[in-house]
Amino acid sequence: MRRFLSLGFVCCLLLSLSLTAQAQTNVTPPDDKSAYALLEALDVDSYRDKGEAITAVLQSDDERARDWLQALLDGRLQRSDDGRFIVVLDNSGRNWPVADALTGEPLGEMSRRELDRIGINNALRNQLRSAIAVVDLYSPNVERRRTSANRLLGEVDGELLAPINELILEEDDGQVRNRLSQAVAIYRTEQGEMEGVEALTGSLHPRARVALSRAAHGDDPVVADAARNALASVEQNLKINRGVETLYFGLSLGSVLVLAAIGLAITFGVMGVINMAHGELMMLGAYTTWMMQQLLPGQPGLALVLSIPAGFLVAALVGVAIERSVIQFLKGRPLETLLATFGISLILQQLVRTGISPLNRTVITPEWMSGSLVINDALSLTINRMVVLAFALVVFAGLMLIMRRTRLGLEVRAVTQNRAMARSMGIRATRVDIMTFALGSGVAGLAGVALSQLTNVGPNLGQNYIIDSFMVVVFGGVGNLWGTLVAGLSLGVINQVLEPWAGAVLAKIIVLVFIILFIQKRPRGLFPQKGRAAEG
């Protein structure tokens, strides 16, 4: 309801705007005294008065109005101690570069103490966005028009109706026209008009569905019937969309599990080393991403891409150090290895905690990885998850290639199947151990780079994934990379299917119980190793 009200302010402006659009050239620029008064009206305590002041700014026809409103929306419109209005250009540090709001002239840097921000709340934010959207409908920029048309869905009221209908006739972009017509249809449906209901039939947009379900409870039995039919007709479609969405959630959770587990599938699965510090190698990969972003300020995307090799290298080197200093002396003693590597994991965590900070670090998500891909009105897929899913598959394919097609892979398989025999054939088993451990650790580093985009980068990052990783490897079948992939993805999907029905806590428990029962039945996991290697 608030939005409808706030739009009320805007309507009168619309009329004046459409007038000024034609008469733009002969408007004399308002003198700065009146502009100052406009801004001064914004600097009041009451949000209601501020709302009226915003409307006044809009109706002033001042060409700086949109910039002021945008600055106000972003919290960058401020007032200095001497009463001047200031636009903050960059509010990231402690001292901010500023410019005069009226003249646009840069004024150097000012500190927080000298400035008072003109605050807004969510209601005003809505009002500002709607106002800017209405202004932008007349913008020559198609993107701006599309955004503003999207925003107007469900927000059209009686006064906006006529100007929007006019705009539809003039608009040459199909997408904008389509959205605006839908916005009008939603309004009509809410008024209980048959025409609107017909136009909305088949629409998946939540606003349209809200309008239809209101019409379905309306007074006119014919319209109510039609609205009910329209709602029922998309029911099946919605179910399919929800199914696809759940599947995507599952695959994406699964891809995280696969990434976390695949390095372990090599060190634990192939080499048989229980490395409890695996999670910490992932953490190091994530911190490498943070470090790269610190080294390349302002280029989070480039830093992220560069941290893929960097994260691999850092984790691989630390992995080799662990292997050389501890694990090689504990060969064939799994319990001691478990305890020693658990100790290492605690040491690495505390090193990061004291060396860098116990606090989480901010890793920025680059522009091209945020937001979601809109498939239709009822289904959109988040892009960061999609990138991680693709990355997991690429890493998996790369590992498969190394294990199947390279000499290293052949040697690794030979050494793990029969160490003595491989050595007698001239393979340097120690070197292969180092390389394998480096590879497994490096992949953990890659997982860390990916996780930095999904979760917290902090000293505890690894702990949260180590149990899940072992679970996936054991479920998939020790020593089998395909098993890890299938196990990870299917556990992800099972978890996400159960979650809406059982809740997050119970879903996790059910999955664990399921795995315990499964392991009872098939102790060697989904894809048990066959042949003589399995005996070892």
Binding site: M1, R2, G119, P206, S213, S370, S372, T382, T455
Partner: protein
């Protein structure tokens, strides 16, 4: 016979008295030389280190400042720091170490409710003083604990009232981490929404997730659908710690804007936001009793001192830090008033003590060991700070026992003489002991 019997015993008494006098004077001499020991019981390692380690630094800074100003009662203060390592049973051991071995005069510590419950018996047994600085679920008042964080009526209830009255919200998703604080708070909120505001069952959605939950896809999409049904919807979040970052990220990625479905959080402060890119979160809300952005000279002085102490230009301050600031000053004032650091004297002297808070007002210690606080609602800004959009016209006194839960409703706490009771039942007029607390817990477990 009688005299013969009396004689040695009289001598015995005199010697005992003499020894006592000598001992006391020796103690007095020792007191003048010895520093006052201040125990700090915050995790410096483990999962809670992220939140608790800054509180240790805060208390150290306050001690430094106090020493620079000449100490207390002419004595210097000395910090005794132990690390309970985010391990709840270890909290109890370390508390015992502080009280029995180091004989500290006061302890500042704990973050999670479960750790507070673990040290409670130790403080009661050894008669220590604990200042607890974090917002919590209430339903407790101990003779030995001073709760300088918010009780539910100083945070959750005003926050929800703000949503209903100022924002016009009609549907509520209560989302929290699965442990005692969110569960109790959400029960109180559910009862409050239904009884006081007539919110229907279908307009309340409750969801719990494990600690450190990182895959929010399903829950966020459920919230989105919950909010798409036509009524203005808000999320009331008691999600704790790390899990918040992926939660907000998922919200932003699924395109849920604060203008569509605002999230009001009770456990997200400046510190939590410092680990996250806040641009997509602008407009989401938090309810606290202090924000770093508060416009008050005391606050700016505190921030400057904090930045100087940490040597980090980007260091942020937050609500539990202010709680320690208030608690420390209250304790110092009470020691001055009592003229001694002796626990029982300080405990009596502190009730009614009033000290400045950081938002330009004053905090007073109430007889139920809770303090008065203003309630502030802030909106997240893109620089990781909060813009204060609403605040209670005056300070609110902390209520140990919620008025919205059966069993707890009839209880009050008053540690002044002659009542001296943490759970006095006003209906049957007796100090409830354990039964009232159990009733409240049973009501919770329903």
């Amino acid at each position: 016979m009688a005299t013969q019997h009396n004689y040695p015993s009289r001598r015995f008494i005199t010697s005992v008295l003499a020894a006592a006098v000598m001992g006391a004077s020796a103690q007095a001499i020792a007191q003048e030389d010895d520093p006052i020991k201040v125990g700090i019981l915050h995790s410096l390692s483990g999962t809670m280190a992220i939140s608790e380690s800054t509180l240790k630094d805060t208390v150290e800074m306050l001690i430094e400042q106090q020493n620079e100003a000449g100490g207390l009662l002419g004595r210097q203060l000395e910090a005794v720091v132990v690390d309970p390592a985010s391990n709840w049973p270890l909290f109890a051991e370390r508390a015992r170490e502080l009280l029995a071995q180091h004989e500290v005069d006061v302890v500042f510590g704990n973050w999670t409710s479960v750790s507070r419950k673990a040290v409670l018996p130790v403080f009661e047994e050894l008669n220590g003083l604990l200042f607890y600085p974090v917002q919590y679920e209430g339903e407790e008042s101990s003779e030995n604990v001073f709760y300088t964080g918010a009780a539910p009526n100083q945070q959750a209830i005003p926050a929800v009232e703000y949503l209903i009255n100022e924002v016009g919200i009609e549907r509520f998703a209560l989302v929290g981490t699965d442990y005692v604080y969110p569960r109790t708070t959400n029960r109180i909120l559910e009862a409050f929404l239904k009884d006081e505001h007539g919110v229907a069952d279908e307009d309340i959605m409750v969801n719990y997730t494990p600690f450190g939950h990182s895959d929010w896809q399903n829950i966020v999409s459920e919230i989105r659908r919950f909010g798409e049904e036509g009524k203005p919807t808000a999320v009331v979040s008691t999600i704790n710690g790390d899990a918040n970052v992926p939660f907000y990220r998922e919200l932003a990625n699924q395109g849920i804007d604060a203008a569509d479905i605002p999230v009001i959080a009770f456990s997200v402060g400046e510190q939590e936001l410092s680990g996250i890119d806040t641009a997509p979160l602008v407009g989401h809300l938090a309810a606290w009793n202090y924000f770093m952005s508060v416009d008050a000279d005391e606050n700016y002085d505190f921030i400057d001192a904090w930045i100087e102490h940490t040597g980090d230009e980007e260091a942020v301050t937050n609500d539990p830090m202010e709680a320690h600031y208030i608690g420390f000053n209250m304790w110092a004032e009470a020691v001055r008033k009592a003229g001694t650091t002796e626990v029982d004297a300080v405990k009596d002297a502190i009730i009614g003590v009033t000290v400045p808070n950081l938002s330009g007002g004053y905090a007073a210690m109430m007889p139920n060991h809770h303090i008065t606080k203003p309630v502030l609602i802030g909106e997240v800004q893109d620089n990781g700070q909060f813009d204060i959009v609403w605040q209670t016209p005056s300070t609110v006194a902390g209520d140990a026992w919620s008025d919205f839960l059966p069993g707890s409703r009839d209880l009050i706490a008053d540690w002044r003489k002659p009542m001296e009771c943490g759970n006095f039942n006003v209906v049957n007029g007796s100090c409830g002991g354990s039964t009232a607390a159990e009733e409240a817990e049973a009501a919770l477990a329903e």
